[in-house]
């Protein structure tokens, strides 16, 4: 267990908030009441992915349906959306690669995770009935999101390229791509809605992990007990 007193940290570095300063480069350390969950680079990558995703989303939606045409005005019109969308898509895909590389090692599904992501497990999770002491840094749902996002990104990228340069591809490939891009995006979006909800409203204290990079000990104990134990060295149930 490593625990650094807050005062030391403050006086020692003179770099502001001790926890955030720690979080610039380190993960999984306790700083006072807080635990560093995501280091700065991880958060930057995440937000780049998120930003590019939303650019894709808001440039894509007005093209997708005229009902959301008003969104085009955020970017200066539908034509701008059409030009921006594929480039944002490329940026999204590139950022996603970094994100993938960064997290892939931690996203191996354990037996518990597999159980977590069964419908039964998910239901239990959403009903706040999961008192599973074995949830590590990322739960099964988060890992599922990770893999689904990775797969979805690949799908969106490939079909997106076809739609971007349709004349280079045969008709059936084009037609399939329109459908697949549509399907991939809608599932992706639905998933992201859940992701945002869980990361903000549903589980208070989560959002700061992607802002400050830190979470409270209690939060960690509640949501990721195994990880909490690993980081703090506390015993289960202690």
């Amino acid at each position: 267990m490593r625990s650094i007193p807050v005062a030391d940290q403050r006086s020692g570095s003179g770099m502001g908030d001790a926890a955030m300063a720690r979080a610039r480069s380190t993960e999984d350390v306790v700083v006072g009441d807080e635990i560093v969950r995501e280091r700065l680079s991880a958060r930057v990558v995440h937000w780049i992915v998120a930003l590019t995703f939303f650019v894709c989303l808001f440039t894509g939606l007005p093209i997708w349906t005229p009902y959301l045409g008003f969104l085009a005005h955020l970017f200066g019109g539908l034509h701008v959306c059409r030009i921006l969308h594929p480039w944002a898509g490329v940026a999204f895909a590139v950022a996603s690669v970094f994100m993938f590389v960064q997290w892939v090692s931690q996203m191996k599904l354990t037996k518990a995770d597999r159980e977590f992501i069964t419908p039964k497990g998910m239901l239990r999770y959403f009903q706040y009935r999961n008192e599973d002491a074995d949830v590590g840094k990322y739960n099964g749902g988060q890992k599922l999101l990770f893999w689904a996002a990775a797969l979805g990104t690949v799908g969106l990228l490939i079909t997106g390229l076809v739609i971007w340069f349709p004349l280079e591809f045969p008709q059936w490939v084009r037609e399939a791509s329109y459908l697949l891009h549509d399907a991939a995006f809608s599932l992706f979006f639905a998933m992201i809605i859940g992701h945002i909800y869980l990361g903000t409203a549903a589980e208070p204290g989560t959002f700061r992990s992607m802002i400050r990079g830190t979470v409270t000990k209690s939060w960690a104990r509640l949501h990721h007990p195994r990880w909490y134990r690993e980081v703090t060295g506390e015993k289960a149930g202690g």
């Binding site: 969104l71 005005h73 959002f207």
Partner: protein, 190 residues
């Protein structure tokens, strides 16, 4: 983020709709009917011998300060032979009239030279007239070898295309007759 804030965000998105960004209007901004106010001149296609009637549309109303520019050429629907139709050559007459390859100034290529020189119309006309006169005077045959009066100028030849007007042809024949030209032929032969 509080529950309150989350809802606020959703409301903001809704408000954007309310502001009335209406992208759904079916806009078909019509191209202007480009010959609505042009000047029409009836003409005849200069290419083949079907001689289709054409209407040349020029910019401006022929007022003094206007230099007419051709904007469109279309078949004359009244012309009995073509009844408004045209072939691809006729349909591109606009680009023959307004053609960047048109020559614009008189030029001369001096003997032995490898390039053109621009000259004035007066120089050109005087130069040509002098050539014509000296050639005619030098080669004029008043009587042939049999002693018959023939009054011809074998040193001069005049050939002409067949896309100039009847009136020009007639003037050209007068010109030919005035010079006693025997060597004369036209596109009609070849």
């Amino acid at each position: 983020m509080k529950r309150r804030m989350f809802l606020k965000g959703a409301a903001a998105a809704g408000a954007a709709v309310g502001i009335g960004f209406d992208m759904s209007r079916a806009r078909a901004e019509m191209r202007q009917f480009k010959i609505a106010r042009t000047t029409e001149t009836r003409s005849i296609c200069p290419y083949c011998a079907v001689a289709c009637g054409v209407i040349i549309h020029t910019l401006g109303d022929k007022a003094k300060n206007v230099r007419p520019t051709v904007v469109h050429v279309e078949g004359d629907p009244d012309a009995p032979t073509n009844r408004g139709t045209l072939c691809p050559k006729g349909a591109t007459l606009k680009y023959d009239i307004d053609n960047p390859n048109r020559i614009l100034t008189p030029k001369v290529r001096r003997p032995g030279s490898d390039h053109w020189e621009e000259i004035s119309w007066d120089e050109a006309v005087q130069g040509i007239a002098r050539h014509i006169k000296s050639t005619r005077d030098r080669t004029f045959v008043a009587k042939n070898a049999k002693g018959q009066t023939v009054n011809r100028t074998p040193g001069l030849a005049v050939v002409g295309g067949c896309t100039d007007t009847n009136e020009f042809n007639f003037l050209q024949w007068k010109f030919i007759s005035a010079l006693g030209v025997a060597y004369r032929d036209s596109q009609a032969r070849v």
